[in-house]
């Protein structure tokens, strides 16, 4: 079944032109196998001290969200490799350091893309960066989305708000290796229409074969003709084969708890569900202790977890 539910802002741009432009841009990107060898200390630049790299491009996405395109550091002369789901620690001189997930194409070694929401002192300072500015970077850290395991499966991505950022590299991968995967379903919830992320890309994705992109907002006025309701209300229209589906979720934990129940209702096995968690991450190598969730270190064992492995602590308050 070739379902193309459009996102709710189709009136903004003529879809066909966009999709063609998007496809053309995509073919230019270098392709490279995503099999990174296990990282060792020598590959991470550097463990405790940041490497300074140049900001190449600054893109404003929404009123409080922006994208930084950063020059990758050289790691012992080797290219900087980061996998979808992993994060870097971005440091701004004199301000501080924050963990930010990769939100660009992991297979493009020429640039590191991070989409950031300005919420705290460091992210607000990051939002004032200009091309040419230098920022510190440590990484990559953490676990990645199960792209190898997802081969031959339908892939259902559920994201809430900025939870879309760490899932965007997954979409890039799935589209680039389209034959390896079944249907691709992206369910995205945001707060209001003005918080919609990457609308043009989402539009273009929705026109790929066997790709379903459903977007909903939590609150809207009468000028919004798209869907209104929380992201879990999108499940009823999502088309996938539960037994051979990989579900990947990123967003506020309450949202993921309810999304996980929707997957459960549809019969997707627990070991085919993955969640990305947020905790206080400082050292990023499992030594400072802040990011613990049950017995897991979110920076080291996560941020991406297979659901059945953390199930025991999933609904425990203050775990």
């Amino acid at each position: 079944m070739n379902c193309c539910f459009s996102v709710g802002h189709e009136f903004i741009v003529p879809v066909g032109i966009l999709a063609r432009r998007y496809r053309a841009a995509r073919t230019k990107v270098m392709t490279q196998a995503l099999t990174t060898p296990e990282l060792s200390q020598a590959d991470v630049q550097p463990l405790l001290t940041p490497a300074f790299v140049r900001v190449r491009e600054f893109v404003r996405e929404t009123h409080d969200i922006f994208t930084l395109k950063i020059e990758p550091p050289k790691v012992n002369g080797k290219p900087f490799l980061i996998r979808p789901g992993q994060f870097n620690m971005l440091y701004l001189f004199g301000i501080g350091e924050v963990p930010i997930s990769l939100s660009g194409d992991a297979e493009d070694p020429s640039v590191i893309v991070h989409t950031v929401r300005a919420v705290g002192s460091v992210t607000n300072a990051l939002s004032r960066l200009q091309p040419g500015d230098m920022i510190g970077l440590r990484g990559p850290f953490g676990s990645n989305w199960p792209l190898a395991e997802a081969r031959g499966h339908d892939v259902v991505l559920v994201s809430g708000g900025i939870g879309l950022m760490p899932l965007r590299p997954v979409v890039y991968h799935l589209l680039k290796h389209r034959k390896d995967f079944g249907r691709i379903v992206l369910l995205q919830g945001v707060r209001t229409p003005r918080d919609l992320l990457y609308p043009l890309e989402m539009e273009a994705w929705s026109h790929e074969p066997d790709v379903q992109v459903l977007v909903t907002v939590d609150a809207a006025d009468a000028t919004w003709t798209g869907r209104v309701g929380v992201v879990t209300t999108l499940f009823k229209d999502a088309v996938f084969a539960p037994a051979r589906t990989m579900g990947m979720m990123c967003g506020p934990e309450v949202m993921m708890r309810f999304a996980q129940r929707e997957f459960e209702k549809r019969g997707v096995p627990e070991d085919q569900l993955y969640v990305s968690l947020e905790r206080n991450m400082q050292c990023a190598i499992g030594m400072c202790g802040h990011c613990q969730f049950g017995p897991s270190f979110v920076c080291l064992d996560g941020p991406v977890f297979r659901f059945d492995r953390i199930r025991r602590f999933w609904e425990v308050r203050e775990a």
């Binding site: 939590d218 609150a219 809207a220 009468a222 003709t225 309701g229 879990t232 209300t233 309810f258």
Partner: protein
């Protein structure tokens, strides 16, 4: 709201829709037939009201195509869209809750088609046949519970 032409509103068309609509899937053939006798086709064009806050609740809507929004108007502050409803879903349950008046507005966002069941005869049939009433209420409760959960999540304003 436009009543559809004679051809489309045949009993056959209604029965076909009845057997395929998600809301009625749990009902027996016999109960479906009983409900079908209260149904008529409807179509609402964008901007058209399906329900209007304060009006008598005369219909129970089964949506077949299109998207409608449950919304409320705040004097001086404009209209807020609370939730959108699409194919396979239902709109309106005030017809079974006294005093049978709509609590919110429902407006077609795109052209909406489906079946409208007559509220008075529905109530009468449910009173006469408690088994039908129970089955219908059970389906309605599933919908209401889902919408309540969704609303509770909305109240959390998760992405603030």
């Amino acid at each position: 709201m436009i009543e559809q032409g004679v051809q489309a509103s045949t009993e056959q068309g209604i029965l076909e829709l009845f057997s395929s609509h998600a809301f009625l899937r749990g009902l027996s053939e016999q109960h479906r037939l009983m409900l079908a006798s209260t149904a008529r086709h409807f179509q609402a064009v964008p901007g058209e009201h399906l329900l209007r806050e304060g009006d008598e609740a005369r219909s129970f809507y089964l949506i077949q195509t299109g998207r409608a929004a449950i919304q409320i108007h705040r004097p001086g502050l404009g209209t807020v869209r609370l939730q959108t409803i699409g194919p396979g879903e239902i709109i309106g349950w005030s017809w079974i809750v006294p005093p049978y008046r709509w609590q919110f507005d429902a407006v077609a966002v795109t052209t909406v088609t489906g079946l409208a069941l007559d509220a008075a005869s529905l109530r009468e049939k449910c009173t006469q046949d408690h088994e039908l009433g129970y089955q219908l209420l059970k389906e309605l409760l599933t919908v209401v519970s889902g919408r309540l959960s969704a609303t509770r999540l909305q109240v959390l304003d998760l992405y603030k």
